[in-house]
Symmetry: C2
Subunit: 107 residues, 2 copies
Amino acid sequence: MPYIKPLPSSNYYAVIFSSTKEEDRLGYAEMDELMMKLAHEQDGFLGYESINNGNTGIFISYWENKGSIEKWRINTTHKMAKDQAKNWYKRYLSQICLVESSHEFVK
Amino acid sequence: MPYIKPLPSSNYYAVIFSSTKEEDRLGYAEMDELMMKLAHEQDGFLGYESINNGNTGIFISYWENKGSIEKWRINTTHKMAKDQAKNWYKRYLSQICLVESSHEFVK
């Protein structure tokens, strides 16, 4: 999974974005690529996990603190992307979460 | 997504389980089915979302409060399943999260 920094063991943030996309989503791929690039440049961005299957997907981004999520939330280009989200998605659920504890196992 | 109760708009819990499974995972499918059945019977279980693609997956369960997660954590049958997890998974990350805010869009 593409973490850019190791996740702490507690007290960081996860933004869970689960969605069902439209079949037809003109301009989505380019915007998605731009958003990934810009997110990686944000202070406090720790990395992400993403799984897609057909038109459904779960995308989770990880952040050092709530302030870094807030700064990204009000980023002008990110806002432009979100204005188009209702064209691209049939449904989404966006959840801002404080990760209270985390446990990793790697063989 | 299979919620058994509507998610509140804030202050509930998500357990994010992201994983890469082994190719060979004898007994996994039966145990997975049993765990889903038992989880649904737990007090405070709100529902789940799950996406798999090949051997990677993200499974998120939702809970009313931390007490309900703790009761499920120490459930004897659930503990038996977890004892076998290291045979079935190459890697997993389990995160217990307080959902501070949630926003849904449905077309």
